[in-house]
Amino acid sequence: MKKQHFIALLIVILFGTAKLNFEQRLSEANRAAFFHGAKLDLSLRQQIGQAGFLAALGGFRSVVADFLWIEGHIAWEQTRWGRMALLFNDATTLQPRNLMFWDISAWQLGWNASIAALNDVHQPDKARRIETQHQYWKAAEDVYLRGIQNNPDYYYLYEMLADLYRDKFQDHLKAFEYYDKAARFPNAPIYEKRMAAYQLSYVPDREKEAYGLLLKYFNMGEKEHLPELLTRLQYLENKLNVPASQRVQLTPEDLQELKNLPNRENISPAQGGGNPDKKP
């Protein structure tokens, strides 16, 4: 080895030793800031092909994800649900911090694909159609859960999953849990806490707790006197047999709001009973 090569190698190794620790700490700080979280494994390689995988490895992950997303969008236009689901899955794997990818993927499965399965004219067996519809709901749930795993720092997907539990599974307890989780984020819209309380009011044996929450919001001022809140309060007062003297005192405006509403009693929003007031 020539002298200059030896010196060069020595400098590279000395610098390498010094930078190794720094790079590792920087890498950890990046991960803590949710950078470079994509998991590029061999199953993804099989799905996106060698060129796509190489491009993703070479620092063009988002571009590959966009191309897959466009392909998935075209598959949706052609109502090829299986292909759409696969392509959206690859896009979300490559871009796990893209909330919109997760949300649209899950929404397509949970709402559009499931409805298409229920109305599938090629499947005469209704039980099978319903079963497929449920499978799409489960697939949507899985997408939202994976999305939350990758984006635990933002309220949005918690809310969307709660919507799925409320509208599709009609699982009000889970809907409450996820609205409640969403509401705990400092930047969450203020309707999240109301949505959580509404859902809790549908859960058997939790009515008292729900009543307490709704009463708290009612007492926060007239801005909170929304039709859904008033309806749920009245329902719970009847259900819990709250004495007339302890019931909330509605203003003439509140009563007018209630008069304009149809009688919804204990009908869940999915059945057309609720009109979630997502007002900030």
Partner: protein
């Protein structure tokens, strides 16, 4: 009477000499018509902006694809430019005999190398700035077309201000400028690495091949290190990954585009550390290039 101008003493280091070499390097590269790639870049961003509109995608998707494609193209073009043009600098000077003419004068070899590198950095800077300007112009054009369509569609909607706020956030994410700077720092690093390789390389093809190999190794090095730390592989694999990490730069650290376009925000301290690391690489690789070049028999 002596009519000759007063003789200025020769200085060991002269920024004027470096500047003259870098100016000439930039001129040579511009004469090679390297800026033609900007036309392809323009076509790409116009194409991607129009394509998403035809597909009738939500505006969030449209902006994201425009940003991804533009920044991705910016990255590809600058990487190609940094690698291919830098790999050709020394062999071309040897072929044209410019190198011998220059070094026969009292120009130290490190000034020659610095001048060449600075010329390359300037070319990359000009290219990045032009592409950024084109990209921002495309973003503004898209923003105005989407905003006017949105205002028309939701003119009576009470939540129009919040929709427009969302549109602003997607059209101009805060992290775009750091992303472009990170792309620039990454290509400075690559250009310096390519120059280092060309100081001991035997041919242009060899330099290009090794530079691209280093780029790919650098891009996956971080993943390999993560694997080593989390999966606990055998001693052989650990030693190999350690050696690779010692020698090659972790280029993944400079890839901020993917996650920033998706909505992530990079903290200033983290960004400054990344920039600092990039400049440290540039300094060390320049030093190593000088060590090899200073002993090279020409």
């Amino acid at each position: 009477m002596n009519t000759l101008p007063a003789k200025t003493p020769h200085r060991i280091f002269s920024f004027a000499r470096i500047w003259a070499i870098s100016g000439n390097t930039l001129l040579e590269l511009v004469r090679l018509k390297v800026f033609y790639f900007l036309l392809i870049f323009a076509l790409l961003i116009i194409g991607s902006a129009g394509f998403t509109e035809i597909l009738n995608m939500p505006f969030q998707n449209q902006f994201q694809i425009l940003e991804d494609v533009s920044l991705g193209a910016m990255s590809i073009f600058t990487i190609l430019l940094a690698t291919l043009a830098t790999a050709n600098m020394l062999p071309k000077d040897v072929e044209d005999r410019t190198l011998y003419t220059l070094l026969a004068k009292p120009v130290p070899r490190f000034e020659y190398l610095m001048g060449k590198l600075l010329g390359m950095f300037l070319l990359l800077l000009v290219s990045t700035l032009i592409m950024s300007a084109m990209f921002i112009a495309a973003l503004y054009a898209k923003y105005h077309s989407v905003a006017s369509a949105t205002i028309q569609q939701y003119s009576h909607a009470p939540d129009l201000p919040s929709i427009l706020k969302d549109l602003d956030a997607h059209a101009f994410p805060v992290g775009l400028v750091p992303c472009i700077i990170a792309i620039y720092i990454k290509v400075l690093l690559l250009a310096t690495l390519t120059l280092l390789i060309s100081t001991f390389s035997s041919s242009y093809i060899f330099t290009v091949f090794i530079s691209f190999t280093c780029y790919f190794i650098g891009s996956i090095e971080g993943m390999a290190r993560d694997y080593m730390l989390t999966q606990n592989p055998g001693q052989g694999v650990r030693l190999f990954v350690l050696l690779v990490s010692l020698v090659f730069p972790d280029l993944r650290l400079f890839d901020l585009v993917d996650d920033t376009v998706a909505g992530n925000y990079i903290a200033t301290a983290l960004f400054l550390k990344t920039v600092g690391l990039g400049f440290a690489y540039v300094f060390v690789y320049s030093l190593v290039a000088y060590v090899i070049f200073s002993f090279k028999e020409l």
